[in-house]
């Protein structure tokens, strides 16, 4: 099937990995996509070396955005802040291992967008 709704995507949607909240997150960000009302909260706890020790997400949204969040959180474990900051849209789309049409890019990129917001606030906390 040439579509994004492949069995592994449906599986991540039905059985999301890393769903929930952390006790003491270092990085937290929320976002919603006003065009479809999708909501996503991402939490990350860092280890002593500044690498991702734990990650969790909560959200409500379409199959593409929620499966993407599940897959994305799996992929960031163990990464350094610099590695997280270097993640591009193409990297995030490649993780899905399924074709994403132009109309659904925003859904697929929601987790990356939330991560980028979280990293920015972590680096430059508001006074």
């Amino acid at each position: 099937m040439s579509d994004v709704y492949r069995p592994h995507i449906l599986d991540h949607y039905a059985n999301p990995r890393n769903q929930g909240r952390l006790d003491a997150p270092d990085i937290v960000a929320d976002a919603d996509d006003p065009s479809c009302g999708d909501q996503l909260r991402l939490e990350i706890a860092l280890d002593a070396h500044g690498r991702v020790a734990q990650v969790a997400f909560e959200g409500e949204g379409c199959i593409v955005s929620m499966a993407s969040a599940s897959i994305f959180t799996e992929s960031v474990k163990g990464k350094s802040l610099e590695e997280l900051e270097a993640l591009s849209e193409e990297d995030a789309l490649a993780l899905l291992d399924a074709p994403v049409s132009a109309a659904r890019r925003r859904c697929a990129l929601l987790p990356l967008k939330v991560l980028q917001t979280g990293l920015k606030t972590y680096r430059e906390p508001s006074p």
Binding site: V4, C36, D38, E60, G61, I63, R104
Partner: protein, 409 residues
């Protein structure tokens, strides 16, 4: 009754395929498809009688002007306006509403005054009033809707008093499909001295509209939702109001005489049409009006009621499908719904792979969705060229999606 099969043959795009399937187009509330008669009228205008209007003394320009202005006469008759001076061409319904907010509202409203809209409005009939309220110090209030998606008319008495200077509401909801009791609302708003704007973006393409019977002061609509082209819309306004209003945009065509430090305005309707107008789009709108008149607006409304009733029966038989809005006898051909826990974006995407075009999201009515407690809905909308077979395909498509997603959703 309309012969929808014959009508389908008038719309070239309906014989196209999409995603390798025959196209089932169910998004006319966003924008309708165009019949060959409109495409040919526009093509002929560019090929045989195109020049700028209102300026040339040469024959070609005179001919273009005549066709363009004939379109205004057709629209005047279509909505039964008292005079062609009351029919202003704009870019779309949104611009028509903004024209009223800017040129009428900034003079007419002040602190302590109220604007009354409703909870079922499209963003185009909300945001211009928010801007106007911020600028003038007027207060924007909303007539609530019932859980069934109809206006709470019994709340009108409480909300309508002499502080209300403007009442703005839609003739037909683009989400709920609700057809509002517009003449009654106009009468009650007029009784307290309010000016009334009716958003006809959904109503005018689908229902017979007579502005004199309706009694409204302004009516806004777009050509592109009524078989016409994009880029042109209409503002109907009562002549006395339009005469008293300052211009909206300044420039060529809208002036009588310009000196270095002042200018005087052209007559109606051109006072509100600055710059080169959408000439060929106007001619296309005229052809669209001719086309709708040939079918008959009563017949169109009856056809859509029948198709929507049938579609609602088919859809509500699906387990887990919930339609928002009133029963079929009080709505037009717009059906927004939720289906199990399937997100509207997934639903619209998967229906598209079956060749079925529906809209997903908030349909530019976020406050309405918040009132309904929903982030988004999926919307199927029907027009002259849709048949019961389209409703069958939609129902089958939904069953197919439910089956395909299986236990995931």
């Amino acid at each position: 009754m309309l012969d929808a099969e014959r009508i389908r043959a008038d719309f070239p795009i309906l014989s196209c395929r999409t995603n390798d399937k025959p196209l089932i187009f169910l998004d006319s509330a966003a924008s309708s498809q165009k019949p060959a008669a409109v495409l040919e009228a526009m093509d002929a205008a560019y090929r045989t009688c195109y020049a700028n209007v209102h300026r040339g003394v040469y024959a070609l320009s005179e001919e273009a002007t005549r066709y363009y202005e004939e379109a205004r006469d057709k629209v005047t008759a279509f909505i039964n306006a008292a005079a062609r001076e009351e029919v202003i061409f704009t870019r779309n319904a949104t611009e028509s509403i903004n024209l009223v907010a800017y040129a009428w509202g900034r003079k007419a409203l002040g602190p302590g005054d109220r604007i009354l809209a409703t909870e079922m409005e499209h963003h185009s009939n909300i945001v211009p009033w928010q801007l106007l309220a911020q600028e003038t110090g007027a207060e924007l209030r909303y007539l609530p809707i019932t859980d069934a998606g109809e206006l709470q008319l019994d709340a009108l008495d409480d909300l309508l008093d002499e502080r209300v200077k403007l009442m703005a509401f839609t003739l037909m909801s683009n989400v709920l499909g609700t057809i509002t009791p517009a003449a009654e609302i106009v009468r009650r708003a007029h009784a307290v001295g309010a000016t009334v704007l009716v958003d006809g973006a959904q109503g005018v393409p689908h229902l017979p509209v007579d502005v004199q019977a309706l009694g409204c002061d302004f009516l806004a609509f777009s050509a592109h939702k009524m078989c016409g082209p994009t880029g042109i819309g209409v503002l109907y306004g009562r002549r006395a109001l339009l005469e008293a209003m300052p211009p909206f945009l300044g420039g060529g065509d809208m002036i009588r005489r310009v000196e270095l430090h002042r200018a005087t305005w052209n007559d109606l309707p051109w006072k509100f049409e600055a710059g080169t107008p959408p000439i060929v789009e106007g001619i296309g709108l005229g052809a669209a009006v001719d086309y709708l008149n040939r079918l008959g607006m009563d017949a169109i409304a009856a056809h859509e009621r029948d198709t929507a009733r049938y579609a609602m029966e088919r859809l509500s038989a699906l387990p887990g499908l919930h339609i928002v809005g009133p029963p079929a006898d009080r709505r037009g051909g717009v059906i927004a719904f939720t289906f199990r826990a399937i997100h509207p974006h997934d639903l619209a995407h998967l229906l598209d792979t079956e060749g079925i075009a529906v809209r997903a999201g908030h349909h530019c009515a976020q406050p309405l969705h918040a009132r309904l407690g929903l982030n988004a809905t999926t919307r199927a909308s029907f027009y002259v060229y849709n048949t019961r077979a389209d409703a069958d395909r939609l129902a089958e498509g939904l069953e197919h999606v439910a089956h395909m997603l299986g236990k995931a959703v």
